[in-house]
Amino acid sequence: MPSTAIRTARINGPGLLTIVVCALLWEVLVRGGVIQYSYLPAPTAILAGLYELLSTGQLWADTAHTLQAVIMGWAIAVATGIALGLMLGVSPMLRRYSLASIEVLRPMPGIAFVPVALLLFGFSLKTELVVIVLPALWPVLINTMGGVAGVHPRLFEVGATFRLSRASVVVKIVIPAALPSILVGLRLSLTLALVLAIVAEMVGNPTGLGYAVVRDQQALRPALMFADVIVIGILGILLNQALMQLIWWLFPAASRRTRGA
């Protein structure tokens, strides 16, 4: 059972049926004139819009840009978050000095940094990265710190009785023991990174899928706009699945311990 390589390949029939029924209902209501908004297209119109986006090639360029921003921002957040989380996790003194600052910074809505980032970096990928990294950092940092601080004290004594160096204790005990918790942080952070990239593109850097939504809205092309939104949704699902799969391949034992988290 745990050797199944791709666990998500099974198709969820009843779940799919619900979606199809909802789409049909939507189609019927719009076509029958029950719902009347000037800019609410029917699902078939959205599909046609999706086809149009795919055929012009614009969609690929937009997706590639957003994907790049998400991956880069997430990677920076992950590297920084794990490093800081480990330091804070192993050192109660460091925690005493910095937890207050973290609790002040953490609830700040990252999007409030857009004007600041725009002033500093203009319409650029850097602006986007600033908006992504600051909020996406916290889930990684907090989960890493919590995971490390939660390592059972006995394990440190095991490290001591086998005369491990401090560095070996971190590499062989602390990180693996905290890994399930760190992985939860990585997943939360990735989801957040996509949301932030889209927002940053909507209000800051005018490129990518976030800007595509705004662009098609301003062009009064609601079918294209909805198609953009659907693409963003699919991107989110794919990113999460890709990460889950990666974790499954890299850390089979740890992903068994985090399943459902």
């Binding site: 059972h152 006995r154 394990l155 004594e157 095991v158 001591a160 009785t161 086998f162 005369r163 070996s168 062989k172 005990i173 693996p176 023991a177 890994l179 034992a253 740890a254 311990r257």
Partner: protein
């Protein structure tokens, strides 16, 4: 781990007796609690020789676990000194490995049995030697069929064997065992007691074994130290001259076994607490 802060005695020159492994003299331990300092152990003096099974028995709260931690270099002694192979102990010695009671916390749950056993060897020898040592340690505790299982897939007794194998793999001179079988059922316990004797016979490893089970202390021990009171002191020591190899049924029925059991009971003074 820092050296004992107040090793007040002049540096003790141990006797060159070849088989002397551990030598504890006048050890006391004071632990700080929120409410203040508390003396856990007082004036503990004993020697342990090579290949010997030295059992330490006493009621709970007498500092038995603390004593194991002192011998393993995890807790410094407040006064007195511990020598291992003639060296003053300061921090975990390479000759000794502690086997903890709570195997579920002491094992690395993310590693297989084989990789748990390899834990103390990594980075200290070539991979081929690690593999060879892991193989023989795992075989010694009869877990060869489970080498690729994770600890959580094993029973409690098997998990405790993994911990014993992990300790044996580094080829220590002495195993420091802190009530290792206390959480196991009676049958598993009996099996592991016999395996421990077999391991000692095959490897010559000394064993310092803490327990609150009097019969276990008598059955396993070549010598027994009875530790009582708070702070804990050694009330008596016994030389156990029961025949070897010991046998779960025959040994336990010997009049001499029953006499030892009675004598240890008396030394602990159980009726006084009843």
């Amino acid at each position: 781990m820092s050296a004992p802060a107040t090793a007040a005695e002049p540096r003790f020159d141990p006797s060159p007796a070849h088989d002397l492994l551990f030598s504890c003299s006048g050890v006391s331990v004071v632990l700080s609690h929120a409410v203040g300092d508390r003396k856990i152990l007082d004036d503990i003096t004993f020697d342990v020789h090579r290949g010997e099974v030295f059992t330490i028995v006493g009621p709970s709260g007498t500092g038995k676990t603390t004593l194991i931690r002192v011998l393993g270099g995890l807790t410094p002694a407040a006064t007195g000194s511990v020598h291992i192979n003639g060296r003053l102990l300061s921090g975990p010695p390479e000759e000794a490995v502690i086997v903890f009671q709570d195997y579920s916390h002491a094992l690395l749950q993310w590693r297989t049995v084989a990789r748990n056993v390899a834990f103390g060897l990594e980075g200290r020898m070539v991979q081929a030697e690690i593999d060879e040592r892991v193989h023989s340690a795992v075989e010694l505790v009869k877990l060869d069929k489970n080498a690729n299982d994770y600890p959580w897939q094993l029973s409690g007794g098997m998990q405790q064997r993994v911990q014993i194998a992990r300790a044996l793999a580094v080829r220590p001179s002495v195993l420091l065992m802190d009530e290792p079988f206390a959480a196991l059922d009676a049958m598993t316990k009996a099996t592991l007691q016999d395996e421990l004797h077999r391991v000692r016979d095959e490897t010559g490893t000394s064993i310092i074994f803490v327990t609150h089970d009097i019969e276990e202390a008598v059955y396993l021990g070549d010598r027994i130290a009875v530790i009582t009171g708070s702070p804990g002191r050694i009330a008596r020591t016994f030389e156990v001259d029961l025949p070897k190899p010991r046998d779960q049924i025959a040994t336990r029925q010997l009049p001499a076994f029953l006499e030892f059991r009675y004598a240890v009971h008396q030394a602990i003074g159980l009726d006084a607490h009843a």
